[in-house]
Symmetry: C2
Subunit: 298 residues, 2 copies
């Protein structure tokens, strides 16, 4: 089944004609998610539906690589292109405000992360996937005693080290863009197939995957030198190091599972659309971190 | 909201009149779950709806204790009464056939267990509940390295020690009663409130809670002496010991969470009905273990 990468509306398998008409119609009506997707992925000029069809075929063509290679290349293009995503640029050598923007919005992201991964665990029939998600949730939220705090705990400690207590962080509601992104992931995790949810959530862990430079990423998520210097507090280094160390494994294991199950269950087209949708939600969410950072400036 | 303890149909809060009419009508139509519930909980004789009302009030009366005490006493009455449940009787000094019946059906139960607990984790907004479920799933399914195998792994090893390989166990579909019980728990975990799901699933861990004798249980889940003797293989002792040691904590922590959240969220009546429904599903499922044991007899 083909799905719209901007709203996940379903179409017949390989029916790029119907998808092109849908995209053109929704863009014509100025629906922002469809306009954005067309602009960023196919063309910035108004184009008739029939001309979009070959562009769509090209965009979704896997070439000779596995599905995961296609997901990686789209992710790199979107977040680590010649002009990296603004949050990635800001995180190269982050200010206190940028790190605090990260903390305040990201605690909401991580709570949704738990829900999304738990839905995958609840809805899969594959025990490998259960073990993978359980491991992931232990790292991200469970932790393992005082010596191995969870990523969530490390995030709150980073906030404290920058002068914002955890009670304040926990009491701050998410910005509207964060709220909308979270609602999108909730919808994907609870309603789309678990294979799509797996791809949608764990492709996001590519953000801190330090292997992407070799595949064309212009920069890392942050300049790894900040882990050695003293430009950010130790608690911030501990938080950033955790992702830097865990997310290679998390994203690559998950994408190997996606390759396997999307193939076995004939969900390749669905996964392509849903992974792109998730990347757009993530884009908005990363902008929300910068919006929040503004409130800590000056 | 009052709910029918045999099918979870909803009624207005405290409307035992409507519930009584519903139960009488369904029993009149010989619907087996409603007939069974009436027989086991209120009366074995055909009784007009108006006479059922005070019986229902009495059955659902919490008295002065917390909700969890009511759940415990209903559970004890059902499984550990003067005539214990037939599976509990059989497990006091279990034959090879009984243990193998346990293994073959229980692997399906544990896979559903993962799904149910993951749904609770996905649907709760309380981080204590996430931590509780994560812990529980680590014990039951995740394990922690070779020295701390999961309960699921210990179950499969028990099967192997009795001469039935894990490939055979995993390839055997569940008996119809197991399948129906699993479908019931899936429905509760995915569709009823997470507080009800929490009560429904973790009240079942009372089965191996060794503190119930002090509250009137006629026997333990099994005669603890079998953990010391040599009447069952070591792998069976390892499996049974695990539950014996983990389930006190699992069931009591969960019931404390149920007391708290059922109170805060005004879900006491719902939890009462759903916990009773889950106990009836469990009753059927334990019988399925004995049915399966029959196939290993002789």
């Amino acid at each position: 089944m083909t799905k719209c990468p901007a709203c996940l509306a379903p179409f017949a398998p390989d029916d790029y004609q119907a998808l092109a008409i849908h995209l053109a119609t929704r863009a014509q009506a100025s629906e922002p998610d469809h306009v954005r997707w067309l602009n960023q992925n196919l063309t910035r000029t108004k184009t008739p539906a029939e001309e979009l069809v070959p562009m769509l075929r090209d965009c979704f063509d896997l070439g000779r690589g596995p599905l995961s290679a296609w997901i990686r290349s789209k992710f790199i293009r979107k977040f680590f292109g010649p002009t990296p995503h603004p949050f990635v640029s800001a995180l190269q050598h982050p200010s206190r405000a940028v790190l605090l923007g990260y903390v305040v919005e990201h605690q909401h992201f991580l709570r949704q992360w738990v829900r999304s991964c738990a839905f995958i665990m609840a809805r899969t029939d594959a025990s490998e996937v259960v073990h993978y998600e359980l491991d992931n949730l232990n790292t991200e939220f469970g932790g393992a005693g005082e010596r191995h705090p969870s990523h969530y705990e490390l995030l709150l400690r980073m906030g404290e080290s920058l002068g914002v207590g955890r009670a304040d962080v926990l009491a701050t509601p998410p910005l509207p863009s964060t709220r909308r992104a979270i609602a999108g992931w909730e919808e994907i995790a609870s309603s789309e197939s678990w294979v799509e949810a797996l791809a949608a959530m764990h492709s996001l862990e590519l953000i801190a995957n330090r292997n992407l430079r070799a595949e064309g990423a212009s920069v890392h998520y942050f300049d790894p030198k900040i882990l050695d210097g003293d430009t950010v507090p130790d608690a911030a280094k501990a938080f950033l190091r955790e992702g830097y160390e865990a997310d290679v494994g998390h994203s690559e294991q998950a994408l190997a599972l996606v390759d396997r199950f999307a193939g076995e269950r004939h969900l390749v087209e669905e996964v392509q659309a849903t992974a792109l949708r998730s990347a757009d939600l993530f884009d908005d969410y990363l902008i929300a971190r910068l919006e929040r950072a503004d409130s800590f400036e000056g």
